[in-house]
Amino acid sequence: MANAEVVLLDFWPSPFGMRVRIALAEKGIKYEYKEEDLQNKSALLLQMNPVHKKIPVLIHNGKPVAESLIAVQYIDEAWKDKAPLLPSDPYLRAQAKFWADFVDKKIYALGRKIWATKGEEQEAAKKEFIESLKLMEGKLGEKPYFGGESFGYVDVVLVPFYSWFYAYEVFGNFSIEAECPKLIQWAKRCSEKESVLKSLPDHKKVHGFVLELKKRLGIE
C-alpha cells in the first residue's frame, strides 16, 4: 500500500459516497479514491466492511468507518479545526442529525421507487417524495444553506441527491423544480462550491447509469 493515510472505497453514482467525498473536500483532506465494481467487490471492501459489504467505506490509517452519515460525522470530529460541518450548540446539532436521519429514511427509498416502479406505486412515491422535499424546503426557509450562513452537515447529506433529480424527473415524468423551486435554488447554490462540484457526477451520466441498472435488473 502506498501508505495513503485516507482511502475512500466508493462507487461514482452513489449519493452516499458523494457525501463522504464532499466532507473530505470541505476539510481539504487528501485521500486515495478507489472505485469499486459492485458486481465484483474487492477483497479490501469485504475486509473493511464485512458486516454490510457496502460502499462508501472511509479508511483512516487502516481503520475503516462504514455508513455515510457515520463517516461524515467522523470526518467532522477527526478534523475538527477546519470547516466545521456540524454546529457546536448541542440543540442545533440534534436538529441537524434529525434532518439527516429524515433524508436517509425518505429520499433514497422514495427516489428508488420513482425510477423502479410504475403506476400507483410510482405515483404514491412521487407524492411522498415531493412532500418530503417541501418539508425540507420549509426547514431551509430563507437561509442560504441548511447550516445557516455556511454549508453544513444537512447540506452535505442532501445535496448528492440533486445529481439524481434529472433521472427521477425523466423516469417519474414530473418536474421537481416546479414543485420545489427554493430547494433547486439551494442545490444550485451548493453546486457552485468546489467541494460539491468535484464530488457530484453529471446528471445525464447518472440517468444513463439508471437506464443500464434498470436493464440489468429487468425493470421496464
Partner: protein, 220 residues
Amino acid sequence: MGEVKLLGSWGSPFSRRVEMALKHKGVEYEFIDEDLANKSPLLLQYNPVHKKVPVLLHNGKPIAESVVILEYIDETWKTNPIFPKHPYEKAMARFWAKFIDEKCNPAIWQIIWSRDKERDKAIEEAIVHLKTLENELKDKKFFGGETIGVVDIVANLIGFWLGVMQEATGIELVTKERFPILSNWIDEYVSCSVIKENLPPREKLLEAFKSRLNAPAWKY
C-alpha cells in the same frame, strides 16, 4: 440545567432508552406517558414530522429520534458519558447502534408479526444478525466495556423485550447454547441497576404482547 420533560410510552423500548440515559446521568425529568392509540396534541405539536415517541423537551425545545436524543443528552449532561470520547470509537458505537436498529430489531419484530414460513425466514435472519452482534461483544462485560454505553442502551430490546416476546410466542431465539456470550450479556444487563430500574413491568409487557399477537400491527 433547565426543565426536562419526556414524552414517552411505558412499553416502548425507544422511550426507555432515553429514560435510561437520563437516570444514568442523574437528570431529573417529568415523564408524560403517551397513549399511542390516541396521540396527544402535545406529541403532534412537538414531533409533527414522525408523530412518534420519544420526544425530549429541554426548556421547551423538542428533540425527536431516540439515538439523536441520546447524543444530545451525552453532550448536554457530562456525568457518566455513554459515548466514547475518541472519534474512532465513537464512530464504532454509532455503527453498532445503527446495526441494532436497522438489522437486529426489525428481524426480531418480523418474527413476532409473521407466521409459518415467513417466521422461519425471520428467525434465520435474526440469528445471523445476532451472531454478528455477539461477535462484537467478544469478551467484554458490556458493549461499552466495564460499564454500560450507548450500544448497551440501544440494545435494550434484545436485553429485555426479547425475553418477554420469547415467552409470549414460545419461540426460542436467544438460548445459552446458541448464544453463550449474548446470554451472559443479557444476564449482566438486566442485573445492572440503571437498566433494571428502567424497564417496563414484565407481567404488563407480557400481557400486552399476548393480547396484540393476533391484533393489528403495534403502533409506535
